[in-house]
Amino acid sequence: MTRTSLAIPPLRPGRGARRADTVATIVMWACALIGAVPLVGLLWTTISRGLARLDVTFFTQSMRGVIGPGGGALHALMGTALITLAATVLAAPLGLITALWLVEEADRSSSPGVRRFGGTVRLVVDVMTGIPSIVAGLTVFALITLVAAPGTRSGIAGSLALAIIMVPVVARASEEVLVRVPEDLREGGLALGAARWRVVTKIVLPTARPGLVSAVVLGVSRVVGETAPLLLVAGFTDSMNYNLLSGRMASLPVYIYSQWQNKGVDAAAYNSRAWTAALVLVIFVLFFQVAARLIGRSRKETQK
C-alpha cells in the first residue's frame, strides 16, 4: 500500500540527494585516480630508467664476452620469441579444440554423461587458470629430471611450462567467443543440409575467427612476461641459442632477473640493462594486449 508513493516520482532530486551525488562523484574520481597512481609511477620509472640503454647495441648484441658496460639482449629477445612461439604452437590448438569440443559437442550432446564430463573439463580449465606459474615450472622441471640428466635445461622445456599456463587462458577465452556465435547461423547451415563438421569449419570458425585470434594473443600476452618457470627449466646464458631442443636459452624476464641479481663490478651498467629490458618487456605485453583488444573489437563490428 505504501507503494503508491512510486506513482509520482520526484522530477528533481532533492538537495540531500544532490549533495550525496556530488560526494559520491568526488570519491569515485579520487579512487580512480589513486588506482592509477601505481600504474603511472611504474611506467614512469621504467621509461625514465630504461631509455638510457634503449639503443641499437641493445638489439644487435648478446651478453657473450661482455664485462661491465655495453652488450645487449638480442639473445634474450630471440629466446623469448622462440620459446613463446613454440608455446603458442603447443597451447593454441589444444586450447581451441578444447573450447570447440565444449561448445559444439559437450553442450549439445544428448548423453548426460558427456554433458557431465563437459562440466568437469570446464572446472579443470578454470582451476588450471589459477595455477601459479612456478608450479607449471616445477612440473616440467620434475619431468625433465626424470627423463634427462640433472641440470638439463632447454628452450622447449620452457615452452612446455608456458604452454601449461597458456592452454586454460586460450580455452576459456575462445569458449566465450564460440558461445556467442549466433545459433541461427548453425541452424541455417544444418537446414541447408551441411554436415556438422562443415558447419563448424565453414560457419562457426570463420565467424569467430577474430575472437579466436584475440584469445590466442591474450594467451601470449599472459605468458610473455613469465619469469619463474623459465628460470627453472630454460635457464640463462649469455650467448645466442637458436636451438629450442638443446642447451639453455635466455629470455627477456630471466635476463632482467639475471642482470639485477648477478651484477659485476660496474653495477650501474647491469642495472641500466635490466631497466631497458623491463621497458622492452612492458612494450611487448602492451603490444599484445592492445592487439588482442583491436582484433576483438573488429569482431563485434562484424556482428552488427
Partner: protein, 379 residues
C-alpha cells in the same frame, strides 16, 4: 566488407609479429665467428693449443666469484668461439650440491669440500672419487666503514673483532684512538653490518677473527653470522655495500673490489698496518699450507691468518675451482680441462685481477705450479 576489415587487421598484426621475428633472426654482432668486436686477443694462443673445441660448459657456485667468472668466460669464449660457458652464481653451498648431483661440470666455491663431504659424496659426473680442487680466486676482504671525512683507519685484529661484534659502541673509543693518533674520531655510534645469507666471505672473515683475535671473537669459524650479535643484516655483497654507503657510523666486511667510495681499514699484521691489497693477499697464501690427508689434486689450503711477513694482508678469501679428476664423458673432460687451464693461466688470473681486483696466482710460483699440475691431471 566489415569481415574483410577485421581479417586485414589480423593480417596486419601477424605481419608486424613476422617483421619483428625477421628483425630478430640476425646474428648478434658481438658473436661473429671472427669476434671482431671482442677486444681480448691476448688469449689467442689458447686457440692454437686447443683447436676445434666446441660445446657448452655449465658451471656455477660462489657469488663472490661472479666478477672473476665474467672475466674468465669472456676471455675463454673469445679464444674458443665454439664454446659457451654458463656460470650460475647460486652460492658456494648450492654449487657443491650441484657438482655432486651432476648439474654443474665445474664449480667455484669459497670453501673447499670438507673431508666428511668428500667421503660421503658420490660425484655423478666423475669416473673416480678423486676431484681436482684448486685455489683460483684469492681476494683480500676489507673492513669497510662509513665515517664522513675519514677514508682510512688502522685496526688490529682485536679492535676489528670488537667493532664487528658490536663490543665497541662508539667510534671515539680509546681502543681505536690509541691505534690512530692524529685522527679526529667522531662520537658516532658503531653500527655493524653483516651478511644475512650463508656466505663464504663470512666464513673467511670469521676464520681470520677466530685465529687472530681468539680472546675477543669466541664464535669460531662460521658461514652464518652469529645471531646473538647486534647490527644490520644485509643480503649479499651488494647489500652490505648499500647498507654501509647509506648510513654514517656503519662498519662491515666486503670483498675489496667492491669498496669504491667507502672507508677501508688497514689491519695490523706482525706489528705493522697493511691495507688490503693483492700482493699482500698472495703473501698470506704463500705462508699457508695445503691441508693434509687429501689427494694429490685436491689443494685445499689451511690459510695462515697470522703470517710472520709484516707486509702480508691476513684477512683474505681463498676461493676454489672444482672439477672431476676423471670425467665419465670425454666431452666434459675436454671442456673442463681447457676452461680450468685458462682460469689458472697467467692470462686468466690477470683478467680476473683486472675485473675483480683479485691476487693473481702467478705471483706465487710454488702455488701456481702446484695448481697447474693439478689441473693438468683432469682427464
Amino acid at each position: 566488407m566489415k569481415m574483410r576489415t577485421s581479417l586485414s587487421n589480423a593480417a596486419k598484426a601477424a605481419a608486424t609479429i613476422a617483421a619483428l621475428g625477421l628483425a630478430l633472426t640476425a646474428c648478434a654482432s658481438n658473436e661473429a665467428p671472427a669476434a671482431t668486436s671482442t677486444t681480448d686477443t691476448t688469449t689467442a694462443s689458447v686457440t692454437a693449443t686447443v683447436p676445434a673445441l666446441s660445446g657448452t660448459l655449465n658451471a656455477g657456485g660462489s657469488t663472490a666469484q661472479t666478477a672473476a667468472q665474467d672475466a674468465w668466460r669472456a676471455g675463454f669464449q673469445a679464444a674458443n668461439a665454439g664454446v659457451t660457458v654458463n656460470y650460475d652464481p647460486v652460492g658456494s653451498g648450492a654449487g657443491r650440491t650441484g657438482f655432486a648431483s651432476g648439474s654443474y661440470v665445474v664449480i667455484g666455491t669459497d670453501d673447499a669440500f670438507s673431508a666428511t663431504e668428500l667421503s660421503s659424496t658420490t660425484f655423478t659426473l666423475c669416473a673416480t672419487s678423486d676431484i681436482v680442487e684448486v685455489p683460483a680466486y684469492i681476494s683480500p676482504v676489507a673492513v669497510a666503514f662509513n665515517l664522513p671525512g675519514i677514508t682510512s683507519l688502522i685496526l688490529d685484529a682485536n679492535t676489528a673483532a670488537s667493532l664487528l661484534s658490536g663490543k665497541i659502541k662508539t667510534w671515539n673509543d680509546p681502543a681505536i684512538a690509541a691505534l690512530n693518533p692524529g685522527v679526529t674520531l667522531p662520537s658516532t655510534a658503531v653500527t655493524p653490518v653483516f651478511r644475512s645469507d650463508k656466505s663464504g666471505t663470512t666464513g673467511n672473515v670469521t676464520d681470520y677473527l677466530s685465529k687472530a683475535a681468539p680472546s675477543v671473537w669466541t664464535y669460531g669459524m662460521v658461514e652464518n653470522w652469529p645471531t646473538d650479535l647486534t647490527g644490520d643484516a644485509a643480503n649479499g655483497t651488494q647489500g652490505v655495500v648499500a647498507a654501509i654507503t647509506g648510513a654514517a657510523g656503519t662498519v662491515g666486511y666486503v670483498d675489496f673490489s667492491q669498496t669504491t667510495g667507502l672507508g677501508v681499514a688497514s689491519l695490523i699484521n706482525a706489528g705493522s698496518p697493511v691495507a688490503p691489497n693483492a700482493a699482500g693477499a698472495t703473501k698470506t697464501l704463500s705462508a699457508s699450507t695445503p691441508q693434509t690427508g687429501r689427494s694429490a689434486t685436491d689443494l685445499a689450503y689451511d690459510v695462515n691468518r697470522t703470517p710472520s711477513d709484516p707486509t702480508a694482508y691476513p684477512m683474505i678469501m681463498v676461493s676454489y675451482e672444482v672439477a672431476c679428476a676423471q670425467y665419465k664423458d670425454p666431452a666434459n673432460a675436454a671442456l673442463a680441462k681447457a676452461y680450468m687451464s685458462y682460469v689458472v693461466s697467467t692470462e686468466g688470473q690477470t683478467a680476473a685481477a683486472g675485473n675483480a681486483g683479485s691476487a693473481p696466482l702467478s705471483s706465487d710460483a710454488t702455488v701456481a705450479s702446484a695448481v697447474a699440475t693439478a689441473v693438468a691431471a683432469i682427464s
